[in-house]
Symmetry: C2
Subunit: 234 residues, 2 copies
Amino acid sequence: MMIAPREHDSIDYNELATLKQLALDGGLGRPVHVSCSELSGKLGVSAQTVSRRLRELEETDHVSRQLVDDGQNVSITEKGESVLHGEYYEYRRLFAAGDEPTLAGTVTDGMGEGKHYISLDGYQRQFEARLGYEPFPGTLNVAVGDDTPHRDRLQTMADGVRIDEWSDEERTYGAATCYPVTVEAGEGEFSPAHILVPDRTHHDERIVEVIAPVELRAELAIDAGSEVILRVAE
Amino acid sequence: MMIAPREHDSIDYNELATLKQLALDGGLGRPVHVSCSELSGKLGVSAQTVSRRLRELEETDHVSRQLVDDGQNVSITEKGESVLHGEYYEYRRLFAAGDEPTLAGTVTDGMGEGKHYISLDGYQRQFEARLGYEPFPGTLNVAVGDDTPHRDRLQTMADGVRIDEWSDEERTYGAATCYPVTVEAGEGEFSPAHILVPDRTHHDERIVEVIAPVELRAELAIDAGSEVILRVAE
DNA sequence: ATTACTAATATACGAGTAC
DNA sequence: TGTACTCGTATATTAGTAA
């Protein structure tokens, strides 16, 4: 049987263990000063192996390094952090199921742009087939501001549903990913709903667009300024 | 340089990945039906490798297996679950720091047994050296009832401080582990405090014993029946 | 279809060494 | 002290095969 070749920028579990150790040693926010022999003890492998693993992690863009006299300063890249975070969410699903991650934000007046796009037939057909409903023609725009870091981790928090790009005679319409959420507002809540993240984001990254089979503003009696919580489904 | 030999019952990261996949496939509570080729696809290795890893996991007592015609039913053992849970808590420290695990319970009248033991000099010396305080001569007994599963995971939730066994002319006194906690009661809270878990547990497993440098009942104005929360330190 | 064995090979590891 | 080579060896992996 043919096994898919390892991608050149992927990570194996021993490298992941090394990356996790760097994170545990404080490497997530800032660079961390380490030496191979120090990590060697913590990981239970030789210093040579640690040296090689760190070089591999650098090669695959999971860390960046700066060699100094008494060791090296290692920074975990965004890609490295994303890998660790994905791992975290897998374990989270195992042991903290039910206590789902959330995004808190404020409803804002939309720009009317999303409305036009999601009404297009090329998108509607996919929504219906892959989300199981035909979205109300309009998006609920939620300013997630401080929760932006969470927004960036949506892809590791839930299984996104892909919407493919398509074209008509005139132009091409871009692909997007939909993340399943429950929308909470005051006492009420509604699902199914999805956060719609276009591959090429059109506007402010601190705002997410939510689609649902109903008009959420009416359904939940909310309007610009209302506080809502988007609970990410598992 | 000498590297410590791998212990015969330890787990390497590739086996851990396999174990995690079994858990994600629903193997935590109950046995899960899998086949090597099915796991092969999910793990990106050959079916032969999966077969070997499953046998290794069985060998090291992380799973138990039952071969059937169309695959095998795999159960993750307590040991296997503990390994996964430990991994979960490491990632949790990375991404959910601050939001610490807790044990909720009710203060119960102690049996006066703990009091006698912790006052003994052989223990006191260790407490002072390793916990940084001399415990008040008496334990706060907390019935954790429903949180018993959490109790069993104390060792993966925090770094326990070991208290060694010792003996005098007459007998040997057993070893124990202390887990750092903050005790919350009503508006007040106190730390440092530790949950004391004897290696050979003397009494009801649904009760944990808490020690602190002060008399917690007086300090927090609590008594039998009071609700307390033990917040496990990271 | 399975699982598991054997044997060939690919990969990872650590000792020794250089800088 | 560091890191990072080379290189012989140990380990892990897969192909092929058997049951």
